[in-house]
Each structure stands twice: as C-alpha cells, then as structure tokens.
Amino acid sequence: MRVELDVPKCVASGQCVMAAPDVFDQRDDDGVAILLEETPGEDLLDDVREAVSVCPAAAIRLVER
C-alpha cells in the first residue's frame, strides 16, 4: 500500500499521529503532519485506515495495490 498526504490541506490536528504513530509525525512548531513511511507494511494497514478515517481535513489517502 502507498500513503498519500496532502500537506496544504492538513490542519495539524494530530489525529493521524494518534492513530498511526509509526507512519505519521508532526512538525514541532505548527503540528503539520509528516509522512514517515510512504509504503508501510501490511501490519500497519489497520492503523493507516484509522488515520484516514479520523483525519478531519480528509488529507490522507490510502492507495492499496
């Protein structure tokens, strides 16, 4: 799977970090999301799905191959 993060849409709520801390982090100064792992392993699929569903800005997309 591939994760896509639309940075301009990000409102820095940090919900992705809470859902999938191995895949997302936040910039220290303003909290904008950072994609740590563009192609995370299958074991992280549930976490990433949750991150997609809780992102309030709908800024995360999961492309499953």
Binding site: P8, K9, C10, V11, A12, S13, G14, V17, M18, A19, Q26, R27, D28, D29, D30, G31, V32, E50, S53, V54, P56, A57, A58
Partner: protein, 413 residues
C-alpha cells in the same frame, strides 16, 4: 435509573421543526428525540431558528462527513445566510476580528498553524504527569473535605482551569487565584457584576504575566507566545486574547465531560466496573471517546453557510443557505454505531464527531482527551463508592448554553 432503551425517538411534528429541538425530560443524556426521527426519515431538512430563518439541518454521520470538509461549506459568519446561534453572535460578527473560528482555507489554515504548536500530540503527552498530579491533589482534597460535596465545584471545574494554568505557565502560587476567577467568569449562575470583575482581573493578570514571560521566558505556552510577539508575528493583545480564549474554550467543556460523564458511568455500573478494573491505557482512551460520543455535549450544532450550490442525496443546498450539523444525532447514528443508545466502552468509538469534523475540528481535542483519560482513570478508582447524592431527576440541566451541562452535581461516597 433511567432506561435508555425506552427513550423516545419521535417528536418532529409540525411542518418545520424549531431548532434546537428539546430533549426528553426522562432521558436527560440522550439526543433530542426529534433529531433521531429526522435522521431516520428526513436526514437533510429545513428547520426554523430563533431569527425566523430556515437553514438545513444535517443529522446523519455520513452526510456530515461528506459536507463538513467540503470547501463550499463555509465558516464565514459575515455571509448574510449564516445561521447564527443567537442574537448576540449575530451582533458581534461584524466587529469580531477574523479568527480560526470564522475563516475558511487558505486563511484559516494559516491562522490555525500559528496557534497549533501547544496542541501537537507529543507536547500534549508531556502534560500527562502534571495533569495526574493536579487530579490526584484534587481527589486528596475531596476525600479530606465534606461528604457529600458538589463534584462540579470540588473537582470538575478546578481540573481544566489548573491544567490550563499549567499549560500557559501560571506560577503554582497563583493557581488558586486563577482557578477562582476563571470559575467565576464561566459560572453562568454567578452575578454578572462579579463575573465581569473576575474577567477583568484575569485579563489584567495574563497581560502582566505575558510581560514577565517576555523578560524571563520559560517552557510554557505564554513564553512561546511572548516569543511570537517579540518576532512581530503576533500583537501583545492578541496573545492575551488567545490565552483567555484557551481558558474559555477548554474549561466548561471539559468540566461538563467530567460531570455528565460521571452521571453516565454511574448509570451504567457494568461499564464503570470495566473502567475501574482496567489499567489498560487503550481501554481508558477508548472509554473517553465512547463517553464523548455518547454525550456529544455541543448542543447548538455546528453552523455553516453554503458558498455554492451543493447536491447531496436528493437535496440541493443552494448558495447562501445556512447549514446546521447536529453532532449528537450523528453520534447516535445506528448506521455507524449499532445500538447507539448503549454506552459501550469497548465499541470502536474513535470515529465520533463530538469534536466536530472538517478543518475546524476542536483545536484542543488532544488536551481534552488527555485530561479525561487521567480523570476517568483516577476518580472512580480512588473513590470506588462514588455515587450521586440526589436522584438524577432532581438535577438541573443547562439547556441553553452552547454546551450542555448540569448546574451542580452533589455526590457522596
């Protein structure tokens, strides 16, 4: 004890329901029955509000998720179609500066990023220990004090004000002053004169403290804002305003989640036992989200205005139409939360919309979650015999504020 299964789910009689819709007296924690009926039968429909205008009311979870992040759905309260919560909000809109609460992207995105630093997940997590200390001390004081006691005054209100004092960097010696004045400002029952004076004292105090932090910065949010003021990114008065805003936004809401959350958990002894018996942080975190879902305390709905025609389902929302999103109705939507009327601390609850949804979702939600995790994980464990000192029917609920609440919560143990 009220049986939630017997709570009514109808009541939207008449051609155009008046919003907000009333709750059923016998089910004080459930959503207004009429919103539940509308969600099932008329999920996007016109309602009438205080000024006679007829915005759309959106009650289904899926429709709210589709519309709230949509760029055509605007938070611009200068738009003549904006469905104001009340006359006061309508009056102040033209004289209110543009803030995160009344702007759209891209301006909103820029503004939100300048105030978001303190709420970054990792920074909030560092608050866990200080919050635990605050909660433990308040429980100590409660156990040493009178029994029964008003949980609101003795515990629920002091927790958030002391946490915000900690976050802002208010010195410990001033915590009592800070807590007393902030409670007065926010206590709807306090004489207006006294509330105004307390508000003035609080703003003057923060103004003075900001000056001290400018000269001698620490690791706290006020020091950080002082830095932004020095760098010319923020005016001094803006920083004071932001400090007061953080206090107001995070105070009553958190206190209500503690007071109403306690009522809800006491009404579900099996769920309370589950919570009390567990030290699994994941279970406690999910319990907080489930109680947030169950109570959905914002009771006037999220208000927006359409900036373009929007087709959704078999409805067309026209440009300039007001839109109201009823969060409680969405959070009891059986399509997403089967048997939504049951408080179930183990259900997947994370997708609830108690903090709203879309780019304006609550700025302080991560702090609120942390506070509630510490409170729910501590209070009922340390006072296992905690109970209401009066029947629920005798409690006086606040049906008029933006957030639901209770005026006083006598408890005993």
């Amino acid at each position: 004890m009220s049986d939630v299964l017997s709570c009514p789910v109808t009541g939207a009689s008449g051609p155009l329901p008046e919003y907000p819709l009333p709750r059923a007296a016998e089910c004080p924690l459930a959503p207004a029955p009429a919103t539940q009926e509308l969600r099932a039968e008329n999920p996007i429909t016109r309602v009438r509000i205080w000024n006679g205008s007829t915005p759309w009311l959106v009650t289904r979870h899926a429709d709210q998720r589709a519309l709230l992040p949509d760029p055509r759905v605007s938070d611009d309260d200068l738009d003549p179609g904006f469905p104001y919560v009340n006359a006061h909000r309508a009056e102040i809109a033209p004289v209110t500066p543009r803030l995160i609460t009344n702007t759209d992207a891209p301006e909103h995105t820029r503004l939100r990023r300048t105030v978001n630093g303190p709420f970054v997940v990792k920074r909030i997590e560092k608050m866990r220990e200080p919050v635990q200390k605050i909660v433990d001390e308040l429980v100590d004081r409660m156990l040493d004090g009178p029994n029964p006691v008003d949980l609101l005054q003795a515990f629920a209100l002091p927790v958030p004000s002391l946490v915000i004092a900690e976050l802002l960097g208010v010195p410990y010696a001033d915590h009592d002053f800070f807590q007393r004045s902030s409670s007065l400002v926010l206590d709807g029952a306090a004489p207006p004169e006294e509330a105004r004076r307390a508000g003035g004292e609080l703003a003057a105090y923060l103004d003075e403290l900001l000056k001290r932090k400018t000269a001698d910065p620490g690791e706290d949010v006020l020091s950080e804002m002082a830095g932004r003021v020095r760098a010319g990114e923020m005016a001094h008065t803006e920083a004071v305003h932001m400090g007061v805003a953080m206090l107001i936004a995070g105070h009553e809401t958190t206190a209500t989640m503690i007071s109403l959350g306690t009522i809800a958990l006491l009404q579900h002894p099996d769920q309370l036992a589950l919570l009390r018996g567990s030290d699994d942080p994941k279970l406690i975190a999910n319990a907080v989200d489930e109680v947030l879902r169950y109570l959905s305390i914002v009771q006037t709905g999220v208000r927006r205005v359409a900036k373009d025609d929007i087709e959704i389902g078999d409805v067309v929302i026209r440009k300039g139409d007001g839109i109201i999103f009823d969060l409680h109705a969405a959070n009891w939507d059986p399509e997403v939360f089967p048997e939504a009327e049951r408080l179930d601390l183990t259900r997947p609850a994370r997708i609830h919309q108690a903090f709203g949804y879309g780019p304006h979702q609550c700025l302080g939600q991560n702090l609120a979650r942390l506070e509630l995790q510490v409170v729910y994980g501590t209070l009922y464990r340390r006072i296992p015999t905690l109970r209401l000192a009066v029947p629920v029917e005798e409690l006086e609920f606040d049906h008029t504020g933006t957030t639901y609440g209770v005026h006083g919560l006598p408890v005993a143990w």
